[in-house]
């Protein structure tokens, strides 16, 4: 694993759009003066006539995307998660969600791993916000392979999709050849019987690493990757709850309203077992190097190991 290639999913976003632009001539990309950072600049270079820079005006960008979708185009509206889901929330709700328009939102720079820019740009609330919009599909890919597959799946899906990408380069652990993305279906990456770690985004690889470490300490941990947070794969969660009796969730997002909450909703309703949430604990972030920050906030394999051990001990 040491020599694993690392890549930020925002890079995957830009590259995938540029690749898919040939196949899907109805695909348009919108930006709010962040094409260099969202990496859609790659698309812009290849398809200048199909890239629309809306300037620093995210609210209008979302409305323009709605208008494009209402007239049959497939727009990808790109910005940082903070502005796409945060600033433009009400436009996403009323102009995209309510009429269920075919807009794809590419939200990059999600989570604490934005790093040095600090709290104003570290969006740990976007999943929570987007989950509350009826009919909104939410995808949070775990690596480059999954991100690319998810983007094509989103194009082929009719309806609004919120896609979450990261700034930090993270390990590409999925196998490009064998990987299959199925919207709304979780992926069991490792079986286990004592506990299930349900993770999303960059925490999936951390969860896998943690599970291997736990194995050597005699704890059998199942690992599930939930790339589609809404609609969530209830079946795989209920099965895990029944078979392992304990769930630990891991996400680079607030513990309020994100994956942990979504999993808890399912478990509470169908098979109540203890759910321990790893995430950002209702605090703002701060500036620092991304990897160091992830450790500070417990968003790393070491903390997953520690949390799982405590939870298993208390079982």
């Amino acid at each position: 694993m040491a020599d694993m290639i690392k890549k930020a999913t925002r890079e995957s976003y830009g590259e995938a759009l540029a690749e898919l632009g040939d196949k899907y001539c109805n695909l348009y990309v919108l930006d709010a003066d962040l094409a260099a950072a969202t990496k859609t600049g790659v698309f812009k270079k290849k398809f200048p006539d199909r890239h629309i820079d809306c300037g620093i005006a995210e609210a209008n960008m979302m409305g323009v995307a709605a208008g494009l979708a209402a007239t049959g185009k497939i727009p990808f509206a790109s910005s940082f998660a903070m502005f796409a889901a945060g600033r433009a929330f009400e436009i996403v709700r009323n102009s995209i969600g309510y009429p269920h328009l075919n807009v794809k939102i590419g939200a990059t720079h999600a989570g604490i791993s934005v790093g040095e820019d600090g709290a104003t740009h570290q969006c740990n609330e976007d999943i929570a916000l987007m989950r509350t919009i009826p009919g909104m599909t939410i995808i949070n890919p775990a690596d480059d392979v999954e991100a690319r597959a998810a983007i094509e799946a989103a194009i082929n899906f009719e309806g609004p999709v919120y896609m979450r990408f990261g700034r930090l380069a993270t390990p590409v652990f999925n196998d490009k050849e064998s990987y299959k993305f199925e919207l709304g279906k979780g992926i069991q990456l490792k079986d286990g019987s004592d506990v299930t770690i349900i993770a999303t985004g960059l925490m999936v690889y951390e969860a896998l690493t943690a599970a291997q470490a736990l194995e050597s300490e005699g704890i059998s941990a199942r690992v599930i990757n939930i790339h589609t947070i809404k609609p969530i794969d209830e079946e795989i969660i209920i099965k895990a709850a029944k078979e392992t009796g304990l769930i630990v969730t891991a996400e680079e997002h607030s513990v309020i309203g994100g994956l942990g909450s979504a999993v808890s909703d399912v478990v509470c309703a169908s098979c109540p077992v203890r759910v321990v949430k790893i995430g950002v604990n209702d605090v703002f972030g701060y500036s620092g190097p991304a990897v160091a920050l992830l450790k500070e906030f417990g968003l790393c394999a070491e903390n997953v190991v520690k949390t799982v051990k405590e939870a298993v001990a208390a079982k």
């Binding site: 348009y28 006539d49 199909r50 629309i52 809306c54 300037g55 005006a57 609210a59 209008n60 960008m61 979302m62 409305g63 323009v64 995307a65 709605a66 208008g67 494009l68 979708a69 209402a70 007239t71 049959g72 185009k73 727009p75 009400e90 436009i91 009323n94 102009s95 309510y98 009429p99 269920h100």
Partner: protein, 280 residues
Amino acid sequence: MDELLKKQLMKTACKVRMGIIEGVYNAKSGHPGGSLSIADVMTYLYFAKMNIYPDNPKCPDRDRFVLSKGHTAPALYSTLANRGYFPLEELKGLRHIGSMLQGHPDMKHIPGVDMSSGSLGQGISAACGMALSAKLTGDTYKVYAILGDGEIEEGQVWEAAMFAAHNKLDNLVAIVDNNGLQIDGKISDVCSPYPITDKFEAFGWHVITMDAHDFDSIEAAFNEAESVVNQPVAIVMTSVKGKGVSFMENQVSWHGTAPNQEQYEKAMSELKASLEELEG
């Protein structure tokens, strides 16, 4: 304007106003004032101007209409019903459970509604998207949007204004309904958006002014709009909130209040009298 057409439009506008009152009265809520102020321009657009297909409301080459001031949905619904998109009888279901006529326009369920709207400042952005969409693929349809004069206090309107001018959206016409009143009072007292014409000009729009209740003025404005190239067009129309119902005219209290039975009957008899006079 051709006198015969003018008379026909005036009669239709009268019927549109009756539909507004009918809807709002039956709903026991809604926004009659700003609906009545746009009744004439709505009539002009749907009965004389726009390329539309009431029997095939989603026809791709149709002109698009976005009611950015979505709370005046009764005007849109009454116009659509009078134009044959759905039965007039539907208007009585406005705002009722089980009716397709939601309090604010819903494109998913109402034939002829091109964009859901209601949260102010958003419709104009969608209209920009539609106009840009036509430009991107060489489509020839035009996009019309109506905004309230209070609505333009929303910052998003000016994001859209910048965007439309930057992208030279000359297939977009935004109509600002300048009736001078918003919920909390006169727009000049609340948080003045004046001078409206200068603002749109400064943002790079071609600006035209018109009298919202004079079909000659309306036709002249839209004809001028047609000739503009490389710029979006803003038509700032001077209107009377509550126009056509004497006791509602220029009264801010009729922004969002439904008439009681007595007021309903008085309003309908006034409109009926106006219609009879035109038909006489």
